[in-house]
């Protein structure tokens, strides 16, 4: 047989890196056999619902649970008073703050958890919840972070009275959480005073919500005889949950089993630990029966982890040619009533300092103030790494503002400021080392693909025609992300370094099982991890079972968010596979009676150099591992790897968007969206495309419609799917995707992570297109979301 044909067939059978392997997850999902938390049914299981505050800020004068407890079928009604003896009425947040599990004398946001009703089923629980009588005394409300910092603003957190130092340093006001600064302020200020040109722009990134289709929930089951606690939970980080539960409950982690079964999307919403989870655990311990708690959609949208709500002021200093000299940023971050951001411990604004973007900016300074308001807590990363969407939004908007000021084309100004290929590894002024990047070819490929010059010509023509009913906008972004948190020297959660892990066991028949500390929520880990193992160890992907999400079987890991699975756990997978391969090499050498150095690895076998007929397949080696190993070698073929990455990874992309805006109604049509992504080595092109489609769609949703506004009384508006914008197939644009490949030099297989780039990169692209539509009328910015109402208001303000 032709060698190429034979190799091709062996590669096809292996289904390794680079294959569009069909997903291993699909058979169960397409047949309705997924196993999500609400599908779990245990003997004797009870159902619980939360009683929530209708007020945003109030003193709780009394709670009367008598009627609810007397309702037939009710087993327990928990309030803060029931949790106090267990010291569980407050819990630590991931951000170094505390959060009330059940309101302890006062509520500080609408829909805050007040009581937990446990009953036979969800019907009885719903009836009984209406019978819990709470007497509130309303207090003044503040929902605006700037007003929250006024001297006479209402005190949102009386429990912090007198605490002038928080988890991230000094607090300057009773509603202030932290001030965090990075960069050289003096140098940056000097660059601004010396600059030929400066621009400044304020922008608000609205309060949005990741809104996965499955809401959050858990089933807690405490076995009083064994002393074991098992919790099925919608968690993106089951091991972290185990540690938190252990800390809270004083049950040793060895007695706690956290299982993340199939998860119906996470997007950052399912990283934190929520009061409902804790209450379900307490109720199960108290009642000795399994307790299920599943939140409703409106509970999900108004209580569990919002994203963003960032008020950013950006400034750029540049010379007349558009070369940027400095970036200065001040942020007021609205964290809601408790600081429950999910960020690495040392980074209260996450990785916001990636805000210098793809550009060679010599000086930068960032200052972020976190503020309490009477709004629900969160500040999580919605399909992005920590605060990276905000950072990329800022710099990609600012460079457009500068381009308009200098009347330079928006593609051209990016080219003038790109970090050049030969500058990598590149140290940013805010202390990050970008490992790799190649920005110019990516942008040029996109401009050519869409015929950029023709688009600009069409736009000029339309601008010149006053009878044209629409405005045309062209948006460009050339973004750099930072993902794969992260090196344990700078990243930890609750003191645990942000490594990740993989354990592989090869069975005697040559098949294998692999377990990781991450958990898929739709990313297809069962499919792609097996591809890495296949390429690295020579075991066909079809022979590899991948398991995640059960803390009793999987090695400790920090979970899946911030695009960290491929950069961190994926590296552990590759390294564990290589350990398997190296042990296999020694066994093969023993079987072939040659030195290990005389062998070369060839897809799925070891063959003797120069004598390729002499070879041992991985299948043969696996069998031998259990009966015929070299003297002094342990039997078996297993490997474990805990990978602490030396650096983050820095995926990048170049996106272009064309919008048509109706002048009289504000309706907007995304005519074209072209997304080029560089995520380094491509493990599964089909899955990458799917992730990009999904991320672009979520970016579209954020830019064009998502927000959770509040009224002055602290009522959260738009907390159902009637108002909260989840686009359907009708509203969603058609996506065009493309790629370049710039492998990460420090990642074992050169991969960088991909699922979040399209969200991070597209949102400013939509904004840039919308602003560009009005740019000839003097617009430099207007805030998202670009629903037709807001766009019409903007058009109206310009006299259109």
């Amino acid at each position: 047989m032709d060698q190429n044909v034979e190799n091709h067939e062996r590669l096809e059978k292996l289904e390794g890196i680079g294959c569009s392997r069909k997903r291993r997850e699909d058979p169960r999902f397409i047949q309705g056999k997924g196993n999500y938390v609400d599908d779990i049914k245990l003997p004797g299981m009870l159902f619980a619902v939360m009683v929530r505050s209708p007020y945003a800020h109030a003193k709780i004068k009394s709670i009367d649970t008598t009627k609810a407890k007397a309702h037939p079928g009710v087993h327990a009604v928990l309030t803060a008073d029931d949790l106090k003896p267990l010291k569980l009425h407050w819990m630590p947040t991931l951000a170094g703050d505390v959060q009330a599990v059940l309101a302890d004398g006062y509520v500080s946001f609408q829909n805050q958890e007040v009581a937990f009703v446990v009953a036979d089923d969800r019907y009885v629980a719903a009836d009984a919840a209406e019978l819990v009588e709470v007497d509130y005394e309303e207090l003044p409300v503040v929902v605006d972070p700037f007003k929250a910092l006024l001297p006479d603003a209402p005190v949102i957190r009386p429990d912090l009275d007198g605490k002038n130092v928080g988890a991230h340093g000094a607090r300057k006001h009773h509603n202030h959480i932290f001030n965090w600064q990075i960069g050289d302020k003096d140098k940056t200020d000097r660059a601004f005073s010396d600059a030929e040109v400066t621009v400044a722009q304020d922008m608000h990134y609205p309060r949005v919500h990741p809104c996965p289709l499955e809401t959050c929930g858990s089933v807690a089951s405490y076995d009083a005889i064994r002393g074991d606690l098992t919790v099925w939970i919608t968690s993106q980080a089951p091991h972290v949950v185990r540690t938190v539960v252990g800390l809270l409950s004083s049950i040793p982690e060895s007695k706690i089993r956290i299982i993340s079964p199939d998860i119906g999307g996470g997007f950052g919403n399912k990283v934190g630990v929520y009061p409902g989870y804790v209450c379900a655990i307490v109720a199960s311990i108290v009642l000795g029966r399994p307790v299920k708690w599943i939140e409703s959609r409106s509970e999900n949208l108004t209580t569990t982890a919002f994203a963003r709500d960032y008020w950013m002021s950006g400034e750029l200093a540049a010379d007349k040619s558009g070369k940027i000299k400095a970036l200065r940023v001040n942020v007021t971050a609205d964290h809601g009533a408790f600081d429950a951001c999910a960020d690495p411990t040392k980074w209260p604004a996450g990785m916001f300092h990636v805000c210098t973007g793809s550009y060679d900016i010599p000086n930068a300074h960032v200052s972020v103030d976190g503020v309490y308001t009477n709004k629900f807590p969160g500040g999580v990363s919605y399909r992005c790494s920590f605060r990276v969407t905000e950072a990329v939004y800022l710099v990609e908007r600012m460079i457009d503002v500068l381009a308009q000021k200098l009347n330079i084309d928006k593609a051209e100004i990016r080219k003038r400021n790109f970090i050049k290929y030969e500058q990598f590894p590149y140290l940013t002024p805010l202390g990050l080392e970008f490992d790799s990047g190649n920005y110019m070819p990516a942008l040029e490929k996109v401009l050519e693909a869409v015929d950029y010059n023709a688009l600009r010509a069409e736009q000029a023509q339309k601008r010149a025609d006053p009878t044209c009913p629409t405005l045309m906008g062209i948006g460009i972004t050339t973004f750099t992300e930072i993902v794969g948190a992260g090196p344990s020297k700078s990243c930890d959660i609750l003191g645990i370094g942000m490594f990740d892990s993989c354990e592989i066991r090869v069975h005697p028949d040559g098949s294998a099982i692999a377990r990781m500390g991450t958990i898929s929520q739709g990313q297809g880990h069962q499919t792609t991890y097996a591809q890495i193992i296949a390429s690295e160890s020579g075991i066909a992907a079809s022979q590899i079972a991948v398991e995640e999400g059960d803390t009793s079987t999987a090695p400790y890991g920090l979970g899946t968010y911030g695009s960290r699975s491929t950069p961190v756990a994926g590296a552990a997978v590759a390294r564990a596979s290589r350990k398997i391969r190296e042990k296999a090499r020694k066994i093969a050498a023993h079987l072939l009676e040659v030195s290990p150095d005389d062998l070369e690895f060839d897809l799925d076998q070891f063959k003797v150099k120069g004598d390729p007929a002499k070879a041992k397949t991985m299948k043969e080696i696996a069998w031998a591992a259990y009966n015929n190993v070299p003297d002094g070698m342990e039997m078996g073929l297993e490997a474990v790897d805990y990978y602490d990455p030396p650096n983050f990874t820095f995926p990048f992309g170049a996106y272009l968007c064309v919008v048509d805006v109706h002048k009289k109604t504000g309706e907007t049509k995304v005519r074209r969206f072209y997304a080029l992504d560089d995520c380094g080595t491509r493990i599964n092109p089909m899955i990458i495309e799917g992730q990009i489609h999904g991320g672009l769609t979520e970016g579209f949703a954020v830019a064009m419609g998502q927000e959770l506004p509040y009224d002055e009384q602290g009522n959260v508006l738009g907390g159902t799917l009637m108002d909260y914008f989840l686009p359907t197939s009708m509203e969603t644009p058609h996506w065009e995707t493309d790629f370049t490949v710039t492998p990460s030099p420090h990642h074992p297989i050169g991969a960088k992570g991909v699922a979040e780039s399209p969200h991070v990169g597209s949102i400013p692209c939509f904004s840039n297109a919308m602003v560009d539509a009005f740019a000839h009328l003097g617009t430099t910015h207007f805030n998202m979301p670009y629903n037709s109402y807001r766009v019409w208001q903007h058009a109206k303000s310009l006299g259109l």
Binding site: N4, V5, N7, H8, L11, E12, G18, C19, S20, R21, K22, R23, E25, D26, P27, F29, I30, Q31, G32, G34, Y36, D38, D39, K41, D121, Y123, P212, L213, E214, T215, D262, I263, G264, G265, I294, S296, R297, Q521, G522, G524, R682, P685, M686, E689, G690, Q691, H693, G694, T697, E698, T720, L721, M722, L726, T728, S729, M730, T732, H734, W735
Partner: protein
């Protein structure tokens, strides 16, 4: 609580009698009493379509139907699609075209697409997008769902079908 009644209907071809309160929603009867956990609850306000089942030839959001309204009805859920271990063309299409990620919307999506293809065996992309707009997906961006439905439609019309994601497209030997 009001008096329970027995409701009889056909579920995926099998006769079912189930005892419910009049207020019980079909999605809860299916999931809690009949172990039909394919249809999911995503919003409870008739927006997301994850709970879609087929009742007497209509795609219905089972969170907005009372079980008592199903007396005498014929119900089809995702659990009734694969026959004798053979996947329905829609199930095959969703895999081959990567029309799902987290899988939560998938049973409702496929069940809805089934009725669409019964009514229109050869829909255009525009028609698919219009007639699938009652099912939300947060993962895929719909583009591959459209392709999956087109794949299934072609297969159901007896045409030859291939995935638009060939296994080895980016691999050279």
């Amino acid at each position: 609580m009001s008096k329970k009644t027995i409701v009889s209907f056909k579920l995926n071809g099998a006769a079912i009698d189930v005892m419910v309160e009049p207020r019980e929603l079909l999605i809860h009867t299916l999931r809690e009493k009949l172990s039909i956990t394919g249809p999911h609850i995503g919003c409870e306000t008739s927006h997301c379509g994850a709970c879609t089942v087929d009742i007497d030839g209509a795609s219905v959001k089972s969170c907005t139907v009372l079980t008592v309204q199903c007396e005498g009805a014929e119900l089809l859920t995702i659990e009734g699609f694969a026959k004798g271990g053979v996947l329905h063309p829609l199930q095959e299409g969703f895999t081959q075209e990567h029309g799902l990620q987290c899988g939560f919307c998938t049973p409702g999506m496929i069940t809805r697409a089934y009725r669409l293809l019964q009514e229109n065996p050869n829909p255009t992309e525009e028609e698919i997008r219009f007639w699938m707009a009652g099912n939300l997906c947060r993962c895929t961006g719909y583009q591959n769902i459209v392709k999956a439905i087109q794949y299934a439609a072609a297969k159901m019309r007896g045409e030859t079908v291939t995935t638009s994601h060939p296994l080895m497209a980016e691999i050279s030997a």
